[in-house]
Symmetry: C2
Subunit: 210 residues, 2 copies
Amino acid sequence: MGKVKRKEEILTTACHLFSQKGYHGTTMRDISEACGILAGSLYTHIRSKEDLLYEITDRGAQSFLQSLQQVVNSEKSAAEKLRLALRAHIQVVAENIEAATVFFHEWKALTGERRKQIQKKRDQYELMWKQILLEGIQSGELHDLDGKFARLLLLSVGNWLYQWYKPDGKLSVDEIVDRFMTILLYGFLGQKEGIHFESGRNVYETDQTG
Amino acid sequence: MGKVKRKEEILTTACHLFSQKGYHGTTMRDISEACGILAGSLYTHIRSKEDLLYEITDRGAQSFLQSLQQVVNSEKSAAEKLRLALRAHIQVVAENIEAATVFFHEWKALTGERRKQIQKKRDQYELMWKQILLEGIQSGELHDLDGKFARLLLLSVGNWLYQWYKPDGKLSVDEIVDRFMTILLYGFLGQKEGIHFESGRNVYETDQTG
DNA sequence: ATAGAAAACAAGCGCCCGTTTGTTTTTATA
DNA sequence: TATAAAAACAAACGGGCGCTTGTTTTCTAT
């Protein structure tokens, strides 16, 4: 097995096991067995168990930050920016479902400086959402909106996704985003005027949950 | 220390530590030290560590089920039922924030039959939400609504609450529910006609998160 | 083909885990 | 106040934990 490859294999394997059994519920022997080597051999490639967790969560944080940065920099209407932001978020989760699970579920198992760094990136991310919403409110496009709770709503939806999303589900990321955004923009009671989806029928069951 | 009291103290302490450090990250010695007794003495009151986790999560599940059952049985409009359901959910989380944290974050650490039982109650709970939304859609009150995603939205908001809610926050449960429901019923773009709150001003910062 | 580097092995370190056992102390009841 | 039950202690069990060390095997580049 090549040099860099084994390191990545260990990370992927750890990510898989952490997402399934949790960080503290996964042992180095679990990881080594899944990789087909002995536990001690892992330490040729990594320095510690916590290093694995940090690498996984930090990569996750970077993915979220980078994808949202593009949205913030874009020049679109507030509503469109919100859609793009939610789309970016959901895409990161959907395309890295195991890493996202570890990111959301296990990052607090980090200790000391490492944890602070991840916390910092989470704060940065939240700040970017704040910015998008604040712009929309100040420009009047999102009149009368409680920015704080709008943000909590959006992040709740995006962050909870890892709990139910299954990669082999019937709906694409775009279809999921469309359904959420329709409700978020116009509400349970509002009309969906001016919005059209290629698959916009109202079907109660479109099962994607596990 | 009395008979039943010590058992409850152990449960409360375990709940606190599980919510902070996770189930696998908490040791029996952690719990015993916080209770001021030796680790072995715990076993006068409990049978195993997993028993503690099961008791906590099962009580949580019962709280959610009971509070929502009352809403399902009530005779209200669909929109009002949704509000009451979200209120019930948020109230359970807010009034038992540590237990809720363990319930949402650690229930998968249960094994075998115990885990299946909690899963079953979670399914029951979701079914009750489905029922409320289905009634509202079939009666026409929630016209054109994608019930599946409306439910995901509501449960995302309710389930993510444990991640940011602080008991010493400035807003009451009712105020939180009002803010979420306003957005959920009328959307980011819609008018909030016919709705009035005693504290309905639009302030961007109403900090409640940690 | 062979020297040097990288990777994996084999063994085990010290420590902590959940739990058990046998004894002592505390509590409740008569 | 005597007595039995309940609770807590003291000590340790078997085992698994993250990780290290010293050696052997495998790969890579000349």
